[in-house]
């Protein structure tokens, strides 16, 4: 919290041109130095990020086939205490919850991106109010790495048995992970779980 008055660096990952324009414009006006990363590069960039501890800004709906990697990185960097800003469509409550479950503190509605970015106040402790309010859930907790991995494997269409084999677990462990993940994300039924998986899959295949 000490060196923050110097130039902040933003790592911006948003493949969609219109949204990237807005985000870049916003950060330029604030005199941040911007690193735009493009698909495939995000994982490589992640290694060098640690040296300068930037703000990370990601448009989740634009990342396409990089979604799994991106979600893992969001989870990792949020866990490490980085400032992560993401934007998703406002009506996608399940994705909002997932973002919150990944530990993201600033979740914005992409339909009003410019407005939401200008209201964003970083470097404050605790959670921006948007995320839980938008998700309509209060008592949510962060996912563990295993739970996230099981979630992402399920979203690739793997059955619990297949995941169990690949992770060298019993399939009962996998079910326990799924159940815990549902609980932490505040999902009430199997249907909501399946819907979340289908949404992840949809973003994944959007540009294919």
């Amino acid at each position: 919290m000490s060196q923050e008055n110097q130039t902040t660096t933003v790592v911006l990952f948003e493949p969609r041109v219109l949204f990237r324009n807005i985000a870049r414009n916003h950060f330029e006006e604030k005199d941040y130095s911007i690193v735009c990363v493009s698909g495939g590069f995000i994982t490589e960039e992640a290694y060098s990020i640690r040296s300068y501890k930037p703000l990370i800004a990601i448009g989740v709906y634009g990342v396409g086939e990089e979604l799994s990697n991106t979600l893992r990185l969001i989870h990792y960097f949020s866990n490490q205490g980085y400032d992560v800003v993401v934007w998703v469509p406002e009506e996608d409550k399940l994705m909002l919850r997932l973002m919150f479950g990944l530990g993201v503190r600033h979740v914005l509605a992409e339909e009003r991106l410019a407005e939401e970015l200008s209201r964003l106040s970083l470097h404050q402790n605790g959670v921006t109010t948007q995320a839980p309010r938008l998700a309509g859930a209060r008592n949510m907790k962060m996912l563990s790495t295993s739970e996230l991995n099981v979630l992402l494997d399920s979203a690739r269409g793997m059955s619990a048995k297949q995941i169990a084999t690949s992770r060298h677990n019993s399939y009962k462990t996998i079910f326990a992970h799924i159940r815990n993940a549902c609980q932490r994300l505040g999902l009430e039924s199997r249907n909501q779980w399946l819907e979340l998986l289908a949404r992840i899959e949809k973003i994944n295949t959007h540009y294919m």
Binding site: V17, L18, L113, G157, S189, R190, N191, L194, L197, H206
Partner: protein, 207 residues
């Protein structure tokens, strides 16, 4: 100096903002070129080179507002740019077939705004790459899936997030009947488990 007149009708501010930022960038590279955003009524004597309409909220042709329909009829196809969401593939496909307007997907990843300006001045139709992609893919003939009316009802309930027991109560059928309907649906759609069924249900709104 050439001034390109742009008009936007009831457009989501975020998309419009993003588009104008792209135009600004083009402005920096081409000093002898400029653009102007026309307001709705005031400068009516000036004819816009391009009118932007926001169709991202629409899901079918019937939802298009009457004044927008009139605009589509009056304006020459290439003078209109429709913003669309490629999520709704069927709707986008209908737009491509029935209208001559230019189409731009709001989640376009590689956008050359110059192409849009060029196309509208040369009276060509502009179709952005990801919309083009849908168009090409839709040409592969698919065997139409025919569901019975009962199966459609069950599918509708499943879309609304109901489980087997709830559907059974709602439709006054036994759970086994519902389960069998669901099995038949899955067989017709060619899916093996609930996950893939959900993926398909989310992908198409018209089954």
């Amino acid at each position: 100096m050439f001034i390109f007149n742009l008009r936007a009708e009831a457009c989501n501010q975020t998309y419009l903002h993003g588009l104008t930022l792209s135009l600004n960038e083009m402005l920096n590279n081409n000093p002898d070129w400029s653009y102007r955003l026309l307001c709705h009524d005031g400068c009516s004597q000036e004819r816009p080179h391009l009118t932007v309409l926001d169709f991202t909220a629409y899901g079918s042709l019937e939802q298009i507002a009457p004044n927008e329909n009139a605009l589509i009829k009056n304006e020459n196809g290439c003078r209109l740019l429709l913003l669309v969401n490629t999520d709704n593939k069927r709707f986008v496909e209908q737009l491509i077939k029935h209208y001559a307007c230019s189409l731009l997907s709001v989640d376009e990843r590689s956008l050359q705004v110059r192409d849009i300006v060029d196309a509208s001045l040369r009276k060509h139709r502009y179709i952005s790459p990801s919309v083009q992609q849908i168009f090409q893919r839709q040409h592969v003939p698919e065997k139409p899936i025919r569901l019975t009316s009962e199966e459609k009802k069950v599918l509708e309930c499943m879309k609304n997030g109901k489980n087997g027991v709830q559907i059974a109560k709602l439709l006054f059928r036994s759970q086994k009947t519902i389960s069998s309907h669901k099995r038949n649906i899955m067989k017709k759609l060619g899916v093996k488990d609930d996950f893939h069924l959900n993926v398909i249900m989310m992908g198409c709104n018209d089954l």
